[in-house]
């Protein structure tokens, strides 16, 4: 290996690390991986009880932050036992319409299952999927898409 090549490789690694760290700084603001972690679009069922959880692309797995949000919802729902909720599942615009309807339904059900494990009766929870039909952010960019991949808990009565 020539010195020249070693030098070039070092330079490449150097630039790559700068780039990566730049990305890292950019994502920690509102996104982790491609899951939205900001609060721009979040509304509240009650003080300190966020109404929505966010998902990674094509995923229905609940993140640590999502589970924390749902636990807060569950404890609020236990205290307000007369209130029923609708879980509205959504997908971003980067998928075929029919598949996204199914994906939204699966996301809302992931949230429903979690609420049920924390003692909320399935009778109090209904589920609807909007697929990609009702984005909250109109943008065509990764941050907008991350806000739109969501399940929102809405009071039904």
């Amino acid at each position: 290996m020539s010195l020249n090549k070693i030098f070039r490789n070092t330079l490449l690694v150097f630039f790559a690390s700068i780039l990566l760290s730049a990305c890292a700084v950019k994502t920690t603001g509102k996104m982790q991986g491609d899951v939205y972690t900001g609060k721009d679009t979040v509304e509240y069922l009650a003080s300190g009880v966020p109404d929505r959880v966010f998902f990674a692309t094509n995923e229905t797995v609940l993140t640590t932050a999502s589970r924390e949000t749902l636990r807060k919802q569950a404890s609020w729902l236990r205290k307000n036992s007369k209130i029923n909720v609708v879980l509205e599942g959504h997908a971003d615009e980067r998928g075929t319409r029919e598949y996204n309807l199914a994906l939204g339904e699966r996301r809302a059900n992931a949230a429903k299952d979690y609420l049920m494990t924390y003692g909320i009766s399935g009778n109090r929870i209904s589920v609807i999927s909007y697929g990609k039909e009702r984005p909250v952010d109109s943008g065509s960019n990764p941050l907008a898409w991350s806000k739109n991949r969501r399940s929102v808990t809405v009071k039904a009565n």
């Binding site: 094509n58 980067r94 309807l101 199914a102 999927s129 009702r134 984005p135 109109s138 065509s140 960019n141």
Partner: protein
């Protein structure tokens, strides 16, 4: 693929053999970069009929108007190059009786369409002829009668006959498109069912936009439409009779039903039913109302589409971990994955010819419309874009219509949804004219066959 082209070629050849020998022949199996130059002479109309049509339809010259419909159809097909009528030397009425072939050859027309329209018993009677200019002979003559309001359809039927005579395959011009008309902000889009002629004329709105509607599809006789409606915020598959306007929910499912299509005999609706986070495929017999579960898998199974003989179903499933295309027997047995390329695959639709499946593919942030054989081999991507999906076949299996969306900025500016069509060859990509933004197109079968 070569072999298929060869077979089709033979068929076309044999088909033409029985008819009069002609020099013109249009090969539609390849991208056509040299569309056939032809002349559509304005149909001649006698003064009496002209006046009557003027009263009835408010058209200055119905003959010229019908010819424009034909001309536009032929141009849009990409296979023909209709010449400018200003260059025509012969008068329509004389050309229809005895064309001076030298005059038409002079302007480089290889084929000539002439005709005559008149009012007979309050109805529109049209007669037209197709001439081979180089051979100097008539190669087709036809006449038919219809109600005057159908004058645009007269143009479409003439185009279908000419197309069939010159390509050896049925046309797709006397057809309609059902689609979703879109308006308003991206975050609260208003969607209505709309129906129009294949060339973008005669648009009618079938719903008012009070509830979200998606994915309309025709039944084989084009009288019924099945679609998804969010009526009362309950997303369910509906059935709509286009003539009467009567709508009904399909089945009594305790959850969302979606992605509906008719079976090729029109007797069943196949669709997805989502429950507890799992979507499976079901059919419902429209007469007996019997419901049958076709797939049984904890993954998402959706976008089902029958083969034209009704024996197989292609569908979309993520049972492998990601969206892929599968084929099974119509009873749900013998499930086989057929898409293995890089990326995600969705919206499979079986071609009316039976030999191909059209699909949407997502790979590295781009969306493609493509086709593959029913065993998954021979994948061919026809068009790449930022976002496009949901292909639907023309009844002759030669053209695909789909919708395409553009990127928007954070305020939603720049967003549009439009219908596009492309030939199976990958050539002749065109935007289809609609009054509003549009998505989810579905092509009817031929209205007159």
């Amino acid at each position: 693929m070569k072999r298929i082209i060869f077979l089709i070629y033979i068929c076309v050849f044999v088909f033409n053999w029985g008819k009069a020998w002609s020099l013109i022949e249009v090969d539609i199996t390849r991208g056509n970069l040299n569309p056939l130059p032809l002349a559509v002479s304005p149909l001649s109309v006698d003064q009496n009929s002209k006046d009557k049509f003027k009263d009835l339809l408010r058209l200055e010259d119905i003959g010229a108007e019908i010819s424009k419909v034909v001309e536009n159809n032929l141009r849009q097909s990409g296979l023909f190059n209709p010449l400018d009528p200003k260059a025509f030397l012969q008068k329509p009425d004389i050309a229809h009786v005895k064309p001076r072939f030298e005059d038409w050859a002079l302007i480089k027309a290889q084929a000539l369409i002439t005709g005559e329209v008149k009012i007979v018993d309050e109805k529109l009677r049209v007669e037209f002829r197709l001439w081979d200019v180089l051979a100097g002979k008539e190669i087709m003559a036809l006449a038919f009668t219809t109600v005057s309001e159908n004058w645009r359809r007269v143009g479409h039927i003439i185009t279908d006959k000419v197309y069939q005579r010159l390509t050896g395959e049925k046309g797709y011009f006397d057809t309609r498109i059902i689609y979703v008309a879109e308006e308003g902000l991206k975050t609260s889009r208003i969607k209505k069912l709309a129906i129009m002629d294949q060339d973008g004329f005669n648009t009618k709105y079938l719903t008012l936009g009070n509830e979200l509607v998606l994915t309309p599809r025709f039944n084989p006789t084009n009288q019924m439409v099945t679609y998804l409606s969010y009526f009362k915020n309950l997303p369910r598959v509906y059935l709509l009779d286009i003539e009467t306007g009567i709508q009904e929910v399909v089945g009594d499912f305790p959850g969302m039903t979606f992605a509906p299509r008719f079976s090729p005999d029109g007797k069943k609706i196949i669709m997805s039913f989502a429950k507890d986070g799992n979507s499976d495929i079901y059919t419902m017999d429209l007469e007996s109302r019997e419901v049958e579960k076709i797939t049984n898998h904890p993954s998402i199974d959706t976008s089902p589409s029958y083969s034209p003989d009704g024996k197989y179903i292609c569908f979309n499933s993520d049972r492998s971990g990601y969206q892929q295309i599968y084929v099974m027997r119509s009873d749900g047995s013998k499930v086989k994955r057929i898409s293995f390329g890089n990326g995600l695959y969705g919206t499979p639709v079986w071609s009316p010819r039976g030999d191909l499946i059209a699909f949407t593919k997502l790979h590295k942030g781009k969306f493609y419309i493509g086709v593959m054989r029913t065993d998954g081999t021979g994948e061919r991507l026809l068009t790449e874009n930022y976002y496009q999906e949901a292909p639907s076949w023309s009844p002759n299996g030669r053209v695909l219509i789909f919708y395409r969306e553009t990127k928007s900025d954070s305020s939603g500016k720049g967003f549009s949804a439009k219908l596009w069509s492309i030939d199976l060859t990958g050539y002749n990509e065109r935007m289809v004219k609609t009054e509003t933004d549009a998505s989810d197109p579905s092509w009817s079968s031929l209205l007159t066959d």
